[in-house]
Each structure stands twice: as C-alpha cells, then as structure tokens.
Point group: C2
Amino acid sequence: MKTGKTKPDTFRRSPCPVANALDLLGDQWSLLVIRDILHGKHTYGELLDSPEKIPTSTLADRLKRLENAGILVKAAYQERPTRYAYSLSAKGAALGEILLAFVNWGTQYIPGTQTLKSFKDGRN
Amino acid sequence: MKTGKTKPDTFRRSPCPVANALDLLGDQWSLLVIRDILHGKHTYGELLDSPEKIPTSTLADRLKRLENAGILVKAAYQERPTRYAYSLSAKGAALGEILLAFVNWGTQYIPGTQTLKSFKDGRN
DNA sequence: CATTGTAACTTGTATAATACAAGTTACTAA
DNA sequence: TTAGTAACTTGTATTATACAAGTTACAATG
C-alpha cells in the first residue's frame, strides 16, 4: 500500500511513540502548561500565575516549543496594544487523555494530592 | 471524618497530582524504563539495551529514584555472583495506563511512530 | 506631557541535570 | 593466569533549568 504522506524514519531516539512524545513533553513543565490551558487559561500572564510558579523564561520557552510542535496556537485577540491568547489544537486537546491518566495515577498513589474539583467538593 | 493516614501538605510545588507525578516522572527517561520493564525486561543489562540507548549513569540514577519512590523493587535473583532483577510494584504497574495514553496519542499525532506490535504486524 | 502601570516577553548568569567515556568490583569459565 | 561479563561508579563536558532583572509597546492618570 502507498500513502501520499511522508513518513519520518529519522527520529531523534527511536520510532517508539512514547519516546517521541517524551522528546516533546518529557519535562517538568510542558504538561502543566497544557493542564492550565485545558482549565481555561489563555494569556501569558494567566499561565505565569500557576500554583507551581513557573519561571517566566521557562514559560516562554515551552510556549514556543509547543507552538512549533503544533500543540498550541497563538493568536492576537486585540491590537493596540497587541495581546495574545494561546489555545490548543486538536493535537493539543488530545493530550487531555494523558493528563487524565496522570490525575488518576497521582490521586491514587501519591497521598495528599488533590484536584481542584476534589478540593472544592471538600473531599480532603 | 478522620483517617489514620498521614497526609503530606508539604509538596515540592503544589498538591496537584499531575505536578507531583511529574516531579517523579517528568523527564526523558523514567517512563521508557517503565515501558521496558512492562515489556518483560528485568536486569540492568537488558534495560541498558534499549533502542534509545540510555546512558548507563542515567539508568543507574533512574533505577534508584524509581526504587526510592516505591515504583520499582530490586531483588537479587542469584548469589555468587549476585545478580539483580527489577520489577514493578502495584504503584509502578499502574503506570501502564499512562504509557497507554502516550502510545495512543503518539501513534495518532506523531507521524511514523510505531509500536513493536504494529511493526511486527506489518502495519507500516 | 510626564509618570505610573501592565502585558508579554528577553537577557544574563548561576545552578542543576544529562551525556559520554572510562574505570571498578565480584565473580565464572577456559 | 587470562579473559569475559554483569552491574554499576566516577569524572568531566555539555545542555537545560532557575532566578533576577531589564525591555517594548502601549493605556491611563494627574
């Protein structure tokens, strides 16, 4: 069978989907940025305000990487002065499944961790 | 309600389960080590042999961290000379769900990536 | 019109993590 | 005695991350 699609056989480490996902997301901050955008945050300032206190230089770097990877899209939502909003592409929104797996594992195996929802509901 | 369990309110970054999971697993290699053990590898040498070519110093460090975190258990399987096998605790085996989410996302959104299974089946 | 404020970054430098090459220990087998 | 192997450790170079400060382009206030 032939498809029109180009297929990179030139991977940084291996053709494993996990390895390639980790090349992109395997750090302390990327998935937290995705989490915040999934929770409705959109601007640089809102994302800076995370409870984990991401350093501004790290946030700027991650936003660029995730945008280059087609996970985030950056768009000006006003001019004079120009202000930007970050949102998730389909590729980015699909990371919700991975986040969910992390939430399930973390709440079950790391004692004391809690989601915003469980905290609001008083389950603590 | 009172439980007997101690609950750490002293987290490195925040009480978020994702953040705490990433404190442990948020790097390029940890989840690949878990993947290999899930695939039946057990010894240091087998784990060193990954297609991603993990550096030996990095592997030694990850095995220690994951063991300290209660994700891996290390046991001698023979004496004279002593040889060790690494295996997953329940906490570690539960990471299979996270790995699965990564596989699903990666194969869908990173063109050309493939699992051992799809490769063996000739789906490429 | 000068000053203050704010969003969205950038730059510089210190510290920490990771990579790569080589060496070590405790054996077995020839 | 020599060679081989598993499971690491050590040293150093490179890269990533963190922290503090500075920059640009405006709006709003007095």
